[in-house]
Point group: C2
Chain length 269, copies 2
């Protein structure tokens, strides 16, 4: 039982072996970390404080008790560091490993939370960190290269502090880049009834990542924020990648002045 | 975003194709109904009002869009009827169908909620409804018989009204019979530091169900409640199956006066 604060937001994230991770790349602890990180990343994008996490774990017999404990420890370490309480769950059998994490975040007022539908023409669009690192790491793993350089992919860090700070200075809309800029910017645009115009040459590519990986790779779990002009001077730590304009709801991408079609990257995976 | 009431309780229930259901027995709508019913059943056992449900759905390609919609409709119909809002979720690919439901229930005060650890020597032990119906239906389905008689198994009804009524008259402990009396009574006993002494001849067997199915079959989603003597006269609709005594924490089962060993039924599935 949890004593509630006034407003609750909740996020669900499911990861499936062979679809979202491979156990020859990721350790059980990586899987635990990553599943919680992905769910917390959604809370970060709302500017919410993490509260409780509820975990459904579906485990094949070949994934032994030691591996389950290691997974729980990987998740628990991130939970402790972010102030998240793992408050319940369900453990079942399955032919492949699946982890579904539901996290509840709390806020003292409605105004403290940021949604995806508030972007307005004139806002600047910025992102935290660098992009494409997860996609580049996954490509390297697929080529059989050393997974020790794959931290960005295997152990993404939810941008909780950055999300709270951006919410506090009054950004108009925010989303975490789980699908990649291509899909997620379009999502904010559609929800806001505006067009996010993104210049691909401005994307802060991670070391070794191509522009395509930065734009469409996904799973970086950085934040994309739309910032009204009055709030721009209060913002720290964003790289500006475009602006919000009147136009067909969604996102438009350009490179060296020419339009680039990134539709079709708004997949479900 | 949800405006919170003072106390939140949360339950997680995951169901996996081939482990918890078979798609040649259960329709997609049955699966949707059943996954939500199992999660709501936990709230019923706490005496909580259902609030929001968050659903992680992992879907193989062979389970097409129409089937996903049918599953959602089956879940949605039960949600509407029970006052539950399906407030979010995640949809991912997987080799087998998996549904994980996290439900949040709310209460105005801590006293309004019932846990599993409050049973005391002298309490009577009762159950709602009949037991073994789900196990008997599953056995019939395994024999290739008509699934039209398998409603108890495919469409269990969470005992929300019964749970609230029992909480209101002051039961000391409550649990939903998802694993069966054998496992769940022992669970309440261990949590309470007392022994639930159950007479198997008193179990209200469902039509066609054996005593073994009623005791150990599970998935009936009825409620087991421990009722202090002072509250017994206010209780309606329970069948008394035993009493709480001082003794080794857990449960003890007897039949025609002889002890019956039901250990090993406290499985995870």
């Amino acid at each position: 039982m949890v004593r509630a604060r006034p407003f609750a937001v909740t996020s669900v994230d499911a990861m499936v072996e062979g679809v979202h991770f491979r156990l020859d790349w990721a350790s059980p602890a990586d899987v635990g970390h990553r599943a919680l990180a992905a769910a917390l990343s959604d809370l970060a994008a709302m500017g919410a404080d993490p509260g409780e996490a509820y975990v459904a774990l579906a485990v094949p017999e070949r994934f032994g008790d030691d591996a389950v404990l290691e997974l729980a420890r990987g998740m628990g370490a991130l939970a402790e560091r972010t102030g998240t309480t793992i408050a319940g769950g369900d453990l079942v059998r399955a032919p492949v490993l699946m982890v579904s994490v539901t996290v509840v975040g709390w806020a003292e007022s409605e105004d403290a939370l940021v949604g995806r539908g508030g972007a307005r023409a004139g806002d600047l669009v910025g992102v935290t960190g660098t992009l494409g690192g997860a996609a580049a790491a996954m490509a390297a793993l697929e080529r059989g290269e050393d997974p020790s350089g794959a931290g960005a992919y295997l152990r993404p860090e939810p941008r909780l502090a950055e999300g709270r700070a951006l919410a506090a200075v009054g950004v108009s809309a925010m989303i975490d880049l789980s699908d990649g800029v291509a899909g997620d910017a379009a999502h904010v645009g559609r929800r806001s009834g505006a067009c996010l115009r993104i210049d691909l040459e401005l994307l802060p590519c991670a070391p070794g990542a191509s522009v395509e990986q930065a734009a469409a790779g996904g799973e970086d779990f950085e934040l994309l924020a739309c910032v009204p002009p009055a709030a721009v001077e209060h913002v720290r730590g964003l790289t500006w990648i475009g602006e919000v304009v009147d136009g067909p709801p969604g996102a438009a991408f350009s490179r060296a002045g020419a339009a680039v079609d990134l539709r079709g990257y708004d997949h479900f995976r």
